[in-house]
Symmetry: C2
Subunit: 189 residues, 2 copies
Amino acid sequence: MQTLNPTARVILGMIKLGRNTGYDIKSLVDVSTRHFWAASYGQLYPELKRLEQDGLITGRDEPSGGRRRRVYELTEDGERALHDWLASDEKPSYELRDEGLLKIFFGDSMSADELVRAVQANRRLHEGVGAALREIEPHARDAETRFPYLTLQAGLAEHDHMAAWWREVEERLARGEDPHVPADPKEQQ
Amino acid sequence: MQTLNPTARVILGMIKLGRNTGYDIKSLVDVSTRHFWAASYGQLYPELKRLEQDGLITGRDEPSGGRRRRVYELTEDGERALHDWLASDEKPSYELRDEGLLKIFFGDSMSADELVRAVQANRRLHEGVGAALREIEPHARDAETRFPYLTLQAGLAEHDHMAAWWREVEERLARGEDPHVPADPKEQQ
DNA sequence: TTGACAATGTATCGGCTTGATATATCATAC
DNA sequence: GTATGATATATCAAGCCGATACATTGTCAA
């Protein structure tokens, strides 16, 4: 059993959740995992073909009227591959690309004014993601979607926390203080 | 002035900070921005060539002994491009790819036991990044590197917070409670 | 009823990115 | 002297994103 490539992981999971066309998978991803695991058509469709060739899913054509449509299901091998991945004890991957932080890193090349605006942009970014998550929060809040809801709460906690952190930096800068925010002892291990 | 591609942004900033070979840039990235902005040789060297062709940097060969070595400097155009990017009011990009969260999203396909281990893996991941950042923390803590130090603190705050959050989920699961962690009212906007 | 627009569905492209690997030289230490 | 690690450049397969193109079907208002 070779390891599933990144896109294959969402695909198998989403098919298991009953999303059985490329379009359907993409639609759910865009309103759920997008904030921590995105997927594009450019990866989805080729990967569906590959997974079918490898026998992890089976597809059948089910056009609705004249509109082509291919519906997929997990095979036994596919179920096993999904479960093996989920149960695997390997350290999960974690990657972040945060342009706002990079700008702050180069803060010496900015004026005081530009720096404040960069900090504000970071605060606003996290506030924005938080607000977006809060909008879908009520829809996710039911027993059917217990675990998706938990991941939504994780995102909420993270972005609320970072928004508050940048807000504090902003206030320190406004007061002319050193921007370093002392670590909250409560958070320490 | 067309917008800088992602790798060009680190390159110009790092050259401004005095890192003037591809190797030197990569070395600094790996001990500083790596946690929120990585860069690989595969992007660095081609991009250095492109930036030189576009006139944002100039390179001269400065072999040390028989070892080839190309040293770069910012041109005026390069300085301007760097500054334009830093001062730009466009919403900074933010992308996350978190395999641990994706596993939790598919939590219904796991046993109670496997779920606990997945949650533990998430807690440990954030603890690990926190510990790694704490190790380089003393080196970064000086006036010369005020802004890099601030980004390090941002990372510390974020990973400490997420480690604590997952620890709480873990404890709730251990007590047989619903894993939903209620939002901390202090964090709310 | 027709015409516009949104939703469903598949597909592809350019350019960006990673991670691994290859090649060489030089410095250090044993 | 020779192994190891640091310095330095380069390349490749594979993965990935965002945009776009295309076609069909459903909806709704003028």
